[in-house]
């Protein structure tokens, strides 16, 4: 087990500037009322939020609009693929739920016969310095999804706030060089283990969710959901995309663009046939995908319990609550069957 090293608060800026000399460094900044990752700016004050960073770092591995090839409009075939990025990068200040999101994206893009080499390049060039959470926000419920706010799983370096500064520990070979700085001192101090709340949004097992496909609850729930798609853009594991050709003044790019299963056009085919025409079917698809399909495909449910969907929903709906409501109904149905009553 690697020792913890301590960084005094006063040395934080110097340490980061040291990192920024060799790596492209990304840290959280508070802009316009939201925490989001941005390139390190020595001129700005640095602080790390003790819990969720509002804007997920999905964009840093899988951009909203990502060029995969360029072409010249005037030639009959000139499609040339783009070069993957290679510049070494550090993302510092992400939390365990962010890492869980990245690990899910790994399953989608890397555990595949046709792995996404652009995504792979972003992963390979990036070192993750993750921060253990100091608290759980109102909508945080990672503990109900098999995670923990102070987990270091998947991080190259983990750090936590302590009196007078931060405690850092390297978790992988990739992370070791980052702790070489002489700003860090060996220490016997250890992070204090915390008890975290759980049980806010408990859900049934993936297999049980699968039995709810034909239930009428989806019509009731979708009465209110407007299928705008904001939850999918905020979610760290929603990576559905479309591929499009975009051209302007002779130059063209083939791009992947974030799409959303909630939008009307998602499943509509050229002839007009649409397998998910109704809002109810789209809400059902997303719910079952998050809590069941993802598990059946990748062995991991794609909800990380970060609660961002609750923060961004314009109707103040709660997607996790939706999962819990479906679970409640499941329970009721089981009880009815057990009591020999008719299902409704």
């Amino acid at each position: 087990m690697n020792k913890w090293r301590k960084l005094k608060t006063g040395d934080l800026k110097a340490y980061l500037s040291g990192l920024a000399e060799k790596w492209e460094l990304w840290v959280p900044y508070f802009n316009d009322g939201k925490w989001e990752f941005g390139p390190y700016d020595a001129g700005r004050d640095i602080d790390f939020p003790d819990s969720i960073i509002n804007v997920s770092l999905k964009q840093l591995f899988f951009p909203k609009r990502r060029s995969i090839a360029t072409f010249d409009e005037n030639s009959s075939w000139s499609l040339k693929q783009v070069m993957p990025l290679e510049k070494p990068r550090i993302i510092m200040g992400l939390h365990p739920c962010d890492v869980a999101g990245i690990k899910y994206m790994d399953k989608v893009f890397l555990d595949s016969e046709h792995k996404d080499v652009l995504y792979e390049a972003e992963r390979n060039r990036t070192i993750l310095i993750g921060m253990a959470c100091g608290k759980m926000e109102d909508n945080c419920h990672c503990t109900d999804r098999g995670l923990s706010p102070d987990s270091s799983n998947g991080m190259d370096v983990v750090y936590t706030r302590t009196t007078g500064g931060y405690l850092l520990q390297s978790m992988t070979k990739k992370g070791e060089p980052l702790l070489q700085s002489d700003r860090l001192k060996d220490t016997d101090e250890k992070p204090v283990k915390k008890d975290w709340r759980r049980g806010k949004y408990k859900i049934a097992s993936p297999e049980e969710f699968m039995t709810m496909y034909d239930d009428r609850i989806w019509h009731d729930l979708s009465d209110i959901c407007l299928t705008c798609g904001i939850c999918t853009y905020a979610c760290p594991t929603c990576v559905c995309f479309l591929v499009a050709d975009e051209k302007f003044k002779g130059k063209g790019e083939r791009v992947t663009v974030w799409d959303s299963c909630q939008l009307q056009s998602y499943s509509r085919m050229a002839g007009g046939h649409d397998t998910r025409k109704t809002p109810a079917s789209r809400v059902r698809n997303r719910t079952l995908d998050k809590f069941a399909y993802s598990h059946l495909r990748y062995g991991q449910i794609s909800c990380t319990g970060c609660g961002r969907c609750v923060l961004v929903c314009p109707l103040k709906r709660s997607f996790p609550q939706l999962g819990a409501t479906v679970t409640e109904r499941l329970q009721k149905k089981k009880e009815k069957v057990a009591a020999g009553k008719e299902e409704d």
Binding site: S76, V117, F241, V243, D245, R254, G271, T275, Y293, L296
Partner: protein
């Protein structure tokens, strides 16, 4: 440098065949001049530079496996641009992707192939395979329905199948048409009328979604079990490699776990 799977490779249109009023077949060959090992039922993604990409079942491959054919119905943006292409034009191709019809499991079996309109395209490679290995299979019955005589595809193949004594062919059009003396009736009704018995046969069904739904219903009424009815599904596949998310039926991706499925492999609501 590592290849980006989503970026297509160039292929030249060697031949264009006008199949019907809105369907053209394109015989393609990779500019790299390599063999494309496409199994019956697999699909490719075809691009016209600047106009996007769409999914097409491969409907025939040449003996040397270098040429492969797709049949394209002009129905949207990309298909419209494809129809404007000429022989010699270059298009983009990715694939082949997907699973294939398990023809190896069907040795000595009787096969019934039911195609509606452009739905015959992904089934034709199975017919080709059977005819190339005729002794390995039992009876072959083909039921093909088109909206009208102007929508009949693969006229040359149909003539050949008509004359082949080892094939029982039924061609039908949806509604009566002047000059048409053949069978009239939509495919599901024809299937009922012919009372195609299941015995230990295998049925393959493909066509517009509504045709698949009612044909399968007709087969089940005749006693066909789920594990001997096969279909190939098209559900807005885009990436073709199980990443963009949209082609899912439950936890299965049509592009990866399909597009060929036997009915016992998919939930009832999928049809």
């Amino acid at each position: 440098m590592a290849t980006i799977e989503l970026v297509p490779k160039p292929a030249t249109i060697n031949e264009i065949i006008e199949e019907s009023r809105d369907v053209k077949s394109f015989v393609l060959k990779m500019n790299e001049d390599r063999a494309m090992h496409v199994l019956p039922g697999q699909f490719i993604e075809v691009s016209v530079q600047g106009y996007g990409e769409a999914t097409f079942a491969v409907t025939r491959t040449s003996k040397d496996k270098k040429e492969f054919t797709i049949s394209v119905k002009r129905i949207g943006h990309l298909t419209k641009m494809l129809h404007r292409c000429a022989e010699g034009d270059v298009v983009g191709v990715r694939g082949p992707y997907g699973n294939s019809f398990p023809v190896e499991d069907w040795k000595a079996k009787d096969i019934v192939i039911i195609g509606g309109g452009i739905g015959l395209a992904p089934l034709r490679p199975v017919i080709d395979h059977i005819l190339q290995h005729r002794k390995n299979f039992g009876e072959l019955e083909i039921i093909f329905g088109a909206r009208s005589p102007a929508d009949i595809l693969y006229k040359e193949d149909l003539r050949g199948w008509e004359q082949d004594k080892s094939i029982v062919l039924h061609t039908t059009i949806d509604v009566p048409f002047e000059g048409w003396n053949g069978r009239v009736g939509v495919v599901p009704v024809v299937v009922k009328d012919l009372a195609v018995k299941p015995d230990s046969k295998i049925a393959l069904v493909c066509g517009p979604p509504i045709m698949i739904k009612f044909t399968i219903a007709a087969l089940k009424e005749l006693g066909w079990p789920d594990n001997r009815i096969f279909t190939t599904l098209e559900m807005k596949m885009q990436c073709g490699i199980g990443q963009c998310g949209r082609c899912n039926i439950g936890e299965k991706f049509i592009c990866k776990d399909g597009p060929v499925f036997s009915l016992d492999q998919i939930p009832a609501h999928a049809i």
